[in-house]
């Protein structure tokens, strides 16, 4: 085991430990606590990266299978077992990712008995289950090779070709069906990504990603275990990848041109930039690099080109399932750090399993032989403390395992400390003011600190009515949110539900409504009961002109700015700061949506 492997494993265990902490919160507190998902963005990083990206990453299995077995390219036989292992673990990781993302993960098996063949996701679910089984059977010989089950081993080897062909066919279906998945969303997906050819595009890009992933993975393992990379095989694969990338680029451009949407790519919008960034990373740069023979033959060259390709195609999946929908939903979803931790944690866990299998089973014979030799040197000895030199003596494997455990435990504790235990809510717009404290309005986004006590001091208690302008002039304990029930939307001041509850359900209708006429227009006037509350002692508001209260944002602006404007202008004060937005708004307010903006305008 090389030093590089040990350090890498330590880091992977660290991330796995963090993820374990977040896992606990995910399954005890719900999706809302560890994700930034919302009703406008119900799919986030876990679907885009773990599921969509994971399935595409694992495409190397069927692509290499096709090249080596179906097309009889014997040179690539070395790549088959690592590629199938990646695919097997990749699909297992997708399944694990789904367990995190599904709201009711204990129903994950439901597609087996509840069928809806009209759903692309149903098709994907079945293909993934089938393909996972096929991959397991394809890989089983590796586990059996050095055991006594030689009969089963030989049978499975004989079945290898039919299994590979079956695997290719099933992969074709679900790789393209992941594109079909998005066909139902013409309303959400930006036209640079939305095309009736999405299934075909997804299939072709999966082949490209599979190829660059095999190159990437092969060069990383070579680096980790300090082996000579199989440069000849890698440059051959790079040649295939270049062909695939060129085809993908032409396909995508022709598709845009054919649909008359090519102009959108040059519109300079966020989507256009995103499109070129994605195409540059995934296709253009790797393609140009792969076309240079010198790069194709150099280890660093193929590594850089393939890693760019991997990142670029993953970005394509993330774009299609999220970023390219922002223009429609106009909400800015950014994953919480806990989402990243889970995504990376799943990758780390399966990378550890990958390394374990590489080291204990004949996936790549050189690695296994090296490890076996190393293991024979290391007898299992309990570590002991050598007093003279003041160091712990013991075998290397045991020592590194202690480091892994420590990394895992430390990360777990760290994660449990840092992770959020409460869901991410746009909490009640207003906090109650208790005596001399500061109100926080609109927590946690667009927080405005309102120094309540300070205002009371300056204006005097008699002037509460300047701000508390409603039917409760003397009242200082009522939160603004009681009437301004929504931060942004106007709400009706009259709270029918609360009156019903207070007066005693249906029995009490007659106390306000004439019999048989449950309409608002003919009901009793507010002042008939609330005369005392509505006394017009202050000058600000004496009567209700509108039946609705403005949203809190508008209301607050109306009251505060009105006053601040005068104070700022007043030559005696000379405080222009009072009328700067940033005086109150310490953090930027999120982008308003069209409806909100419109409602604000209508409020004046």
């Amino acid at each position: 085991m090389t030093r590089r492997v040990r350090i890498t494993k330590g880091i992977l265990w660290l991330i796995t430990g963090l993820a374990a902490a977040v896992t606990i919160i995910r399954f005890t507190r719900g999706l809302g606590t560890v994700t930034a998902l919302s009703d406008t963005t119900p799919w986030g990083l876990w679907v885009g990266f773990d599921v969509m990206g994971g399935v595409a990453l694992a495409a190397g299995g069927f692509v290499i299978g096709a090249i080596a077995h179906v097309f009889h390219r014997e040179r690539y036989h070395h790549a088959v077992r690592p590629a199938i292992l990646t695919a097997l673990l990749g699909y297992a990781a997708v399944a694990v990712g789904l367990v995190y993302d599904l709201g009711l993960p204990w129903h994950i098996w439901h597609p087996i008995i509840f069928w809806n063949p009209h759903s692309p996701l149903f098709e994907v679910a079945w293909c993934v289950m089938t393909y996972l089984t096929i991959l397991f059977l394809e890989f089983l010989p590796v586990f059996l090779e050095r055991t006594r089950f030689q009969g089963l081993y030989r049978t499975l080897l004989r079945l290898q070709l039919p299994l590979i062909i079956l695997g290719i066919s099933v992969s074709t279906l679900h790789q393209s069906s992941l594109g079909t998945l998005l066909l139902i969303m013409p309303f959400r997906l930006h036209p640079l990504w939305y095309t009736p050819n999405l299934p075909e595009l997804f299939f072709v890009s999966a082949i490209c990603l599979g190829l660059v992933m095999v190159i990437f993975e092969s060069s990383v393992t070579a680096w980790l275990y300090e082996r000579e990379p199989r440069t000849r095989m890698l440059s051959g694969l790079a040649g295939f990848a270049a062909g695939g990338l060129a085809f993908y680029f032409a396909f995508r451009m022709l598709d845009l041109w054919h649909r008359g949407k090519l102009g959108l790519a040059f519109a300079g919008t966020f989507e256009a930039n995103l499109f070129w960034f994605e195409m540059g990373l995934s296709t253009i740069v790797p393609l140009l690099l792969f076309l240079i023979p010198k790069v194709r033959r150099s280890h660093t060259g193929v590594f850089i080109a393939s890693s760019l390709g991997v990142i670029g195609f993953l970005l394509n999946r993330v774009d299609a399932s999220g970023l390219a929908q922002v223009w429609a939903t106009r909400t800015h979803y950014f994953p919480m750090w806990t989402e990243f931790v889970i995504s990376l944690g799943i990758v780390s866990l399966f990378a550890l399993i990958y390394l374990f299998i590489q080291e204990h089973f004949p996936v790549e014979k050189e690695i296994l032989d090296e490890e076996e030799k190393w293991r024979q040197r290391q007898l299992f000895v309990l570590p002991r403390f050598e007093r003279l030199s003041e160091v712990w003596l013991g075998n290397e494997a045991f020592a590194s395992r202690r480091v892994y455990s420590a990394a895992f435990v430390v990360a777990l504790v760290l994660g449990l400390t840092l992770a959020p235990w409460q869901p991410l809510v746009e909490a009640s717009p207003v906090e109650r003011a208790r005596g001399g404290d500061t109100l926080r309005v609109g927590f946690p986004i667009g927080t405005v600190s309102f120094p309540h006590a300070d205002h009371v001091k300056r204006l005097g208690k008699k002037n509460c009515g300047i701000c508390h302008h409603l039917h409760k002039p003397g009242d200082v304990g009522t939160p603004c949110s009681e009437c301004h029930r929504d931060m942004y939307l106007p709400t009706r001041i009259f709270h029918h539900e609360r009156h019903v509850a207070f007066l005693g359900g249906n029995e009490a209708c007659g106390r306000c409504h004439p019999k048989g006429e449950p309409k608002a227009a003919t009901a009793k006037k507010c002042s008939e009961c609330h005369q005392k509350d509505m006394m017009a002692k202050n000058e600000v508001v004496t009567k209700f002109e509108r039946p609705t209260a403005p949203g809190l944002r508008v209301a607050a602006h109306g009251i505060c700015i009105h006053c601040h404007k005068q104070q700022a202008k007043d030559p005696r004060w000379k405080k222009p700061d009072l009328f700067r937005c940033a005086t109150c708004h310490r953090t930027p307010v999120p982008q308003g949506e069209a409806v909100l903006e419109a409602s604000l305008k209508s409020e004046g």
């Binding site: 069928w115 996701l121 098709e123 066919s169 099933v170 979803y333 939307l489 539900e497 608002a520």
Partner: protein, 273 residues
């Protein structure tokens, strides 16, 4: 229960009193106070605890939003397990005992109707079910929101009746209304219709005008129905390629005859598949 139940919303009559919202909450047992909204919540006021809402528009216009109960619902077609069902009568209903929680329905709905209970470990999809169970059992004749409306801005009947009524109103006061019935053809037709004096394109993620009137499920089905042929075609072509190359290589190894003509199958150009 009547066949093809349908709601007609007349935007010009709505005063935005939210009696429908209160009635909906009551009959469905939803909490009267909405819990604090999540960051990134929808701006139309709908939430897991509010299945219908009033969207305020400039000029004092109030538009009620709720599930459209599409004639060919996208949410039903994409649900992998069939937890969302289009009932024979028309309303689209939900069965939690089947649902996996994949939230594909929320992505597929062009109007952003299904909402999710994010802050629980046992969440469901929540949306208007047109009071299906109570209508079916005969407990009520009209959905609670329609009963509650003091201005008859929202009316209930069979789809044909409602279409006829909408046309009658458009004809009777042609100056008052935009001559269009929203929901008659949008996304293949819906069971909630609107007539209005303002454009209602904002109710969907994109104005349906630009995307045609075809139902959404057809878009995925046109790809999905090819699946069996793709499977067979791929398996057959892969087997054929293998057989041809294998035969050619065997013949070469035997060193006997010339390789057969169909030897291009294994050339470098074939790496796409």
């Amino acid at each position: 229960m009547i066949k093809a139940p349908c709601i007609l919303n007349d935007v010009t009559r709505c005063i935005g009193c939210e009696e429908c919202v209160a009635a909906c909450k009551k009959i469905n047992g939803l909490p009267q106070e909405d819990p604090p909204p999540r960051v990134g919540h929808s701006s139309d006021g709908l939430s897991a605890t509010r299945w219908t809402s009033i969207v305020r528009r400039p000029g004092g216009v109030s538009v009620r939003k709720q599930c459209r109960h599409c004639l060919e619902p996208a949410c039903v077609s994409v649900c992998p397990v069939g937890a969302l069902q289009k009932t024979p009568e028309g309303p689209v209903i939900y069965d939690k005992s089947i649902c996996m929680g994949c939230r594909y329905c929320m992505m597929a709905c062009p109007y952003g109707i299904p909402h999710y209970q994010w802050n629980t470990v046992n969440p469901s999809i929540r949306k208007c079910i047109l009071c299906y169970h109570k209508l079916k059992s005969g407990e009520i004749d009209t959905p609670a929101c329609v009963t509650a409306c003091p201005k008859e801005a929202t009316t209930f009947g069979s789809r044909d009746e409602m279409l006829a009524e909408a046309r009658r109103r458009l004809k009777a006061e042609p100056k008052k209304y935009i001559q269009h019935i929203w929901g008659e053809h949008e996304v293949g037709g819906t069971s909630v219709l609107y007539i209005s004096n303002v454009d209602l394109g904002f109710l969907a993620w994109q104005d349906p005008k630009f995307l045609g009137t075809t139902a959404l499920p057809g878009r995925t089905w046109s790809a999905l129905r090819k699946v069996p042929y793709e499977f067979i075609g791929m398996a057959a072509s892969m087997t054929a390629v293998w057989w041809i190359i294998d035969r050619r290589m065997r013949l070469e190894r035997e060193g006997g005859d010339e390789p057969p003509a169909a030897s291009e199958g294994g050339s470098d150009g074939g790496d796409e598949q």
